[in-house]
Symmetry: none
Subunit: 193 residues, 4 copies
DNA sequence: CATGAATGAGGATTCATTCAT
DNA sequence: TATGAATGAATCCTCATTCAT
């Protein structure tokens, strides 16, 4: 179903597999997407997929490697900065952008957590979240503060998918989400001035 | 957990299927839990499951029917009340309780959204969420207000599972979550008053 | 392809699977015999095989369990007897019978040793051989004696298959083999007498 | 085993394929050794193997051609000699050496007989064995004599592998085996002399 | 109320092989 | 000499489901 019937020559097959896989994984879930299906969408044989990826899980892993880098860099940056409010705001701002850029992947993650859990890459992801949290939290915060902080991050994740089928302009939504998240984070920093 | 090891004779098989199924679905996900597995946990044959439920999906549906009722009642109650702040707070309070009571089911839902989506019961659930949102929202709120409101609900869902592997006393956590959620909702009601 | 087209009713399927499997394994080797092939020979689905055996290897294991028992009993008997020459001769005699009774299985083993090696049941089998050897050997025999003894056993194994496509009446062959084996064993018992 | 780690440039690839293939075939069996595996061990692509050998079976055939020659020469020599006892002993002695020299190949054959059977080269091998037997046998021997003779040869084959995981110095073992084999053969020559 | 036996469809994965470059 | 990319056929195995008993 490409524009022409002949196999596109060029070294792009690996990339195309990733694209289609992400699309289908996000749409139908990991388990319900078979390699046959992916192959058919690409007009290739299942075996061709195995030339490029050792296993189905490997495809997911590769997806994460490509798209988690921005977050890793963000965390690294955050950890190298002083823990000021301004830095924390910037972290959220950048995180918002990362999420927007990798929207389908994050949607996939959010909607397939049960699967993620035993997908090896899951642990990796969870630990990233924890480091992000650390970046934002006050060490001696109350439980509510911690919840606020964690909600700040989670709001963005949830926003990615739950607001999809709500009204409004995407950019506006993203901004609103960031605003709420920032607000939550700020309020979690304790009564201090 | 019968007093002796022998299979309980009596009409509780259906219930036991639901219990085990919920446990396994929540733990491993819907697709990765096979009827064989459920049957084995119960020391019954797969065929026995089919005596009690027409299909695998039917088990999930029955789970929802039992556990969604409280939420339905909550929504009905909310819709019958005036839209005061106090009522809205009460809605959140009760919703928090419902979630706590049905924790495994909600965890299951949260972690298997991709699956839920084509499980017929999915739509049902989304619409419930929307009615709940409606209950809390100001009609003419800004986008940020809407996000806040929606985050209030989502915080509770997320808290269910994400705080599981964080520190602290469960009850304290639940309260903190409710507090943050209420706060978010209150702040979404506009500058008024 | 049974005499009639309808599925034979009766609890014999498991047995029939074993029969056909053994036949095909012996004829073509383990790896080259697919479950599809076995199923086709039985006019059943592959899935039916999995109802009766958890895995392909399980079929082999079951084959061994049924047929190794005589050998186990023989070893047990031998170990309970005094180590006289007469007993040792009897051991060989009985072993010869066991082999004749389980000829196809032993042929299978002999011809698929590479496969046996990682078939879990292989170890089991090797250890049986060693105990059998122990039964026949003089503790302080020379190396040649040990080789003779071991050859006595091996002759029988080899005879099973190698003499198949050589001339002569089966019974006569079996007897000749037993004679040679016994002779070898006797000569291995040291200069004594 | 090149002095450095870099791939040996030079025309020895074909040889290296044979070496690695034989090693893996002997270790794991023919069917369980994939061309991918062989290629990986050599740090080459599968396609490279196909430059040197038309097919997987071709590799085995080439292995046999290289290593069966000594046996062929031995047989030819034997057939050109008078059928004296001394010649027969010499045949066994030389055969023992051939086996020792080509141990892995013979181990491979012994352990993969089922596979050999439809590997085209199988027949060839069996016929060699028969000619060898002819060389040693008395035409009018009894069945026991024939068995003895055949056991003489088989002892050596079996010794190759079965004594591997028994005790003792390899050379000593080989000698013991040859001694027993010779003894068997001698005893098969009839009461005469 | 439940089992024993089976099915059909489909899953991921692996293999020997090919061919243009 | 070799590789990169791909294929087609087959593999073992699992699943939800059915039905006579």
């Amino acid at each position: 179903m490409g524009s022409t019937a002949q196999p596109r020559r060029g070294g792009d097959t690996r990339q195309r597999i990733q694209d289609v896989a992400l699309e289908l994984f996000a749409e139908q879930g990991y388990e319900k997407t078979s390699l046959r299906e992916i192959a058919e969408h690409l007009d290739v044989t299942k075996a061709a997929l195995y030339y490029h990826f050792k296993t189905k899980e490997d495809i997911v892993i590769s997806l994460f490697q490509d798209l988690a880098r921005p977050v890793d860099e963000l965390i690294a940056w955050g950890e190298s900065q002083p823990q000021t409010l301004e830095v924390k705001k910037e972290v959220l701002r950048r995180y918002s952008d990362s999420l927007a850029a990798a929207a389908p992947l994050f949607r996939f993650m959010q909607e397939n957590q049960a699967t993620m859990r035993d997908l090896s890459v899951g642990e990796t992801f969870k630990s990233r979240m924890l480091r992000l949290l650390e970046l934002l939290q006050q060490p001696e915060g109350t439980m509510s503060d911690r919840v606020r902080c964690f909600t700040a991050i989670f709001t963005m994740h949830a926003g990615m998918l739950a607001l999809r089928d709500v009204e409004g302009d995407p950019e506006e939504k993203q901004e609103a989400i960031l605003e709420v998240a920032t607000d939550l984070m700020v309020r979690s920093q304790g009564v201090t001035e």
